[in-house]
């Protein structure tokens, strides 16, 4: 188990900067998600930590050791691949035992540890099967067992759940978290699924065009995105723009909403859809931010409902418990309001 | 102790070798062409102590290439007289010391004095065998042997005719059919026309004696060109064929045995050639089917009914034969270009 630190790492592919001065650290024993749209460099970063890619610049430390010059096979990592990459010619037990055999562990020891690992992923009874005889979820568990059986210092997961269907994915998320807690291994995973990242991670890092845009605990990043991209990439956000006028923000159409004190310069503001309430009457509280909009569409989704609204040509989205919503006339004017602390300030 | 022993044996072996003068000579020839018969080499080894190793070639050009690229590798080589001047001019073969060949006196004078074998003013190839390139007929088809070469163009035998896939032979064959001198063809156009007319008659070309025998055995052909020596072998093997020398004439060839300049075993080579023209060797060989011998004494030793006596011993036949002379590279290529164009048009 070890802390992983990435410092000022740059990686170029030809003229393209796949990683641009990336810095992030992953404390020991945590579960970390790397998030970003495709082409953002998240997989490159993971593979750089793994050692498949060597950096052009910067340092990577696993534990206290700097590893940029160490090839993947010496880095003592465990990795799980998107397609699992199980060796088709080996049985489940041989797949899991591969890393141990490479390390010249005795046969008895190998058998014991393979057994333990398979128990951990609840596949003890399938050890003699070949990969093609397993279901998708089972293959995933084998891949996980194989990645952890060697007691690596860090576990790297490349889109670990993307090949599974939705319900299986949720089960596996819980399972993955349980196993990670049980063995306490530093785990870094790449995903494009923000919900998955938020659910699993102790800390997330968001990448865009090779840069680490923001990193921190999920809640912090969610609540305090540092830019518009993060705000709208991680969860959904209604963006408000205007000019600061004293203690209020004057929106482009003339309305003003109160903003946190002390903010002098220009800024962008965002409100999460789930934090907005809709009323037909104007809310009476003085310092409650409120704006008027027109309801375009109401989408029912079981317990929750999503409303799409229009305000002078810009779209707003509100998510609310269905029963909390009043009867609303389609196309009619409504008031949107939220608690002052839910106004997210995005520094320019 | 051991080293002394090895050294002693080595010296002893050397000593023995120089006394008995036992060499291993290497002969370059067509496969199955007399020199490589087991009984012949065994008898030679018994008589002289020299052993014989063979290497084979599949065309004269290849034989020349082998001589050029492997100096010292061969001691005796069979060269067709029409190639002897070229080999001599390139310095590949040395002159023969006839004094070392006892049987040489019996060689027919006209062959011993052959211009080509005496290229460069000295004998460079000992006349060994000669023969004809003419044709043979399938006796199952013919009641009576045709007398004219025109049988090849006879529509009755359409698709039952074969000639060898060889530009020079094809052209010379057509030269005979058009009444020209094979060594000095004046009307090449007539030959092209004649061959173009022959093409539709042809079932296949033959490339080797083996092909020829199989085609004949399978009854694929009625008339096909063939060498006299091969015909005699095929007849001896029981194939239903008969050799014909038409009234228009036939192509004659003479094979000589030569010694490469680079040979280090000249004496043994001379001994081997001597054995090759020995009547005892020839009569035994003729039993299996052999071309005609250049050694008059050997030819005379054949039984009365032998093929080589009956057909080739007939002076009238010999008078119709045109012997092949050397052909320049340019001429050869002109013939090849023409032959390829004819074949490609099929």
């Amino acid at each position: 188990m070890a802390e992983v630190a990435v410092e000022n790492v740059t990686k170029r592919f030809g003229t393209l900067k796949a990683l641009d001065n990336v810095t992030i650290d992953f404390p020991d024993g945590g579960f970390f998600g790397l998030l970003g749209p495709s082409g953002s460099g998240k997989t490159t970063l993971l593979r750089t930590i793994a050692g498949f890619i060597f950096t052009d610049d910067g340092t990577i430390r696993i534990g206290s050791k700097s590893v940029e010059q160490i090839p993947v096979e010496k880095r003592e990592i465990g990795m799980m691949f998107q397609n699992y990459a199980l060796f088709p010619n080996m049985s489940v037990a041989d797949n899991v035992g591969f890393g141990l055999r490479v390390r010249k562990v005795s046969l008895a020891e190998e058998r014991r540890r393979v057994g333990e690992a398979l128990e951990l992923v609840q596949l003890g009874q399938h050890s003699n099967r070949k990969p093609h005889q397993l279901s998708g979820g089972q293959r995933q568990r084998v891949a996980l067992a194989r990645a952890i059986v060697t007691n690596p210092r860090v576990l790297l997961l490349d889109e670990p759940l993307s090949a599974l269907d939705k319900s299986l994915r949720v089960d596996m998320q819980i399972e993955l978290k349980r196993i990670q807690r049980e063995i306490g291994i530093t785990t870094i995973f790449v995903t494009h699924d923000q919900e998955e990242a938020l659910t699993l991670s102790d800390k997330i890092g968001i990448l865009r065009a090779g840069r680490m845009v923001q990193a921190g605990p999920p809640r912090e990043v969610y609540n305090n995105p540092t830019d518009v991209f993060t705000a709208s990439f991680l969860g959904e956000a209604n963006i408000l723009e205007g000019a600061v006028d004293g203690n209020s923000l004057r929106l482009t159409d003339g309305d003003a909403i109160p903003i946190p004190k002390g903010l002098k310069t220009g800024a962008t503001f965002a409100v999460r859809p789930e934090n907005i309430s809709i009323t037909t009457e104007e809310p009476t509280e003085r310092d409650t931010p409120k704006i008027q909009a027109r309801l375009k569409q109401r989408v029912f989704a079981g317990a929750m409902a999503t409303c799409i609204l229009d305000r002078n040509g810009s779209t707003f989205k509100v998510i609310s418990r269905d029963r909390d919503l009043p009867q609303l006339p389609e196309g009619g004017p409504v008031w949107l309001s939220w608690e002052p602390e839910h106004t997210i300030t995005i520094p320019n | 102790m051991k080293r002394t022993f090895t050294l002693t044996t080595a010296i002893a072996a050397l000593f023995a070798a120089s006394i008995a003068n036992a060499d291993e000579i290497r002969v370059l020839n067509w496969q199955g062409y007399g020199t490589d018969a087991d009984w012949a080499t065994d008898a030679f080894t018994e008589a002289t102590g020299h052993t014989v190793v063979h290497e084979y070639f599949n065309s004269e050009q290849e034989m020349l290439t082998k001589l050029r690229t492997n100096p010292g590798a061969y001691d005796v080589v069979l060269i067709n007289a029409s190639f002897t001047p070229q080999a001599q001019a390139e310095g590949l073969i040395t002159s023969i010391d006839t004094a070392m060949i006892e049987n040489f006196d019996d060689v027919s004078a006209n062959m011993a004095e052959n211009d080509d074998l005496n290229a460069g003013g000295a004998l460079h190839g000992v006349p060994w065998t000669w023969g004809l390139t003419s044709f043979a007929i399938n006796t199952n088809t013919f009641d009576e042997a045709p007398t004219s070469i025109e049988v090849f163009w006879d529509p009755d035998y359409n698709g039952r005719v074969s000639i060898r896939d060889d530009a020079l032979e094809a052209v010379q064959f057509a030269a005979i059919a058009t009444g020209q001198d094979i060594n000095n063809i004046e009307d090449l156009d007539a030959i092209q026309v004649k061959l173009a007319e022959l093409m539709p008659q042809i079932k296949t070309y033959w490339g080797s004696e083996n092909d020829w025998n199989q085609f004949m055995a399978a009854d694929d052909l009625d008339v096909a060109t063939i060498w006299s020596g091969s015909a005699s072998r095929s007849m001896a093997a029981g194939l239903p064929v008969q050799f014909v020398v038409p009234e228009e004439g036939a192509i004659g060839w003479l094979d000589g045995l030569s010694i490469p300049t680079s040979s280090t075993k000249q004496e043994a080579a001379h001994q081997f050639i001597d054995w090759m023209i020995d009547p005892e060797f020839y009569t035994r060989w003729a039993e299996d089917g052999a071309p005609a011998s250049a050694n008059a004494a050997a030819a005379a030793a054949l039984p009365e009914d032998a093929f080589n006596r009956q057909v080739l011993g007939d002076p009238e036949v010999v008078a119709r034969v045109q012997f092949q002379r050397p052909v320049s590279d340019e001429t050869r290529e002109a013939y090849l270009t023409m032959w390829q164009a004819l074949k490609a048009a099929q």
């Binding site: 199980l86 088709p88 | 599949n58 199989q214 093997a237």
Partner: protein, 261 residues
């Protein structure tokens, strides 16, 4: 059409093709028991060619030599060819296309020309003739076939398997031996069989480069054409095919190289 019928039709087709492939082999074997020297029909049973063969030390020596040369060629060509294929598959580098295109000349240029070229060149550099030269030539001619066949198999290989193995701590050699090689084994076997075939049937190079008296079976057969070869050739070919078939079927019985997944 139902899948079952299709499957049955497929098997029939396979059987037909196998028959087609073996038809001349059967005829060859058949003729080795036929009395006629010129392969004449009708068939008359005779063992005379086998008797002749038993007394023909030249053919037997040539056949043995051919098998030995083919075995050596197979081992060298398969090893070198597989190594080259792995490199061509695993790495991207400048000049890779050129190296791949360079495999075509030895296949495209008739062996006659290549053989002649080898003859001249080997003499030029003083290598001369002899069994080593023959093997050098055979290996060179077999290499492109091995590389093409093994590369075709490698193209189906999932490269993340190698990465997975490396992430588990396996060094290059272990990755190759435990992951890559097992996957391409069918390709390697096929390549080896081709290499053997190329060498075993190679006439031109052997003809030009073998020492007199040290000829191989194909050389013996080709040079025999002029005089006519006897069904002894069929007899020795039949014996060789029968032995190889037995060896192969036994090998198939005890190994798994068809690439069972």
């Amino acid at each position: 059409m139902s899948t079952l019928i299709l499957k049955r039709l497929g098997k029939i087709w396979l059987a037909l093709i196998l028959f087609f492939l073996y038809a001349p082999i059967l005829v060859m074997a058949f003729m080795s028991f036929n009395d006629s020297q010129y392969y004449q029909l009708p068939f008359e049973f005779s063992l005379r060619w086998y008797q002749d063969l038993a007394g023909n030390s030249e053919i037997i020596a040539a056949a043995t030599r051919s098998v030995l040369i083919a075995l050596i060629t197979t081992i060298i060509a398969t090893t070198l060819g597989t190594a080259a294929s792995v490199a061509l598959f695993r790495f991207e580098f400048k000049g890779k296309r050129i190296l791949q295109v360079l495999l075509f000349p030895p296949i495209a240029i008739p062996w006659l020309i290549t053989g002649t070229a080898m003859l001249i060149f080997f003499f030029g550099i003083g290598l001369g003739r002899g069994t080593p030269s023959v093997i050098i030539g055979h290996v060179a001619l077999a290499l492109p076939y091995v590389i093409v066949v093994v590369t075709a198999r490698l193209a189906t290989f999932d490269a993340t398997l190698e990465e997975a193995a490396r992430s588990l701590g396996a060094n290059s050699w272990t990755v190759t031996r435990r992951v890559t090689l097992p996957w391409i084994t069918p390709g390697i076997i096929a390549g080896a069989l081709f290499a053997f075939a190329v060498s075993f049937d190679q006439f031109v190079v052997s003809y030009f480069l073998s020492e007199p008296g040290d000829s191989t079976l194909p050389v013996l057969i080709y040079t025999a054409i002029r005089k006519g070869f006897t069904p002894e050739i069929n007899a020795i070919s039949t014996i060789i095919i029968t032995i190889s078939m037995a060896v192969m079927l036994i090998a198939a019985r005890f190994s798994n190289f068809g690439g069972e997944r």
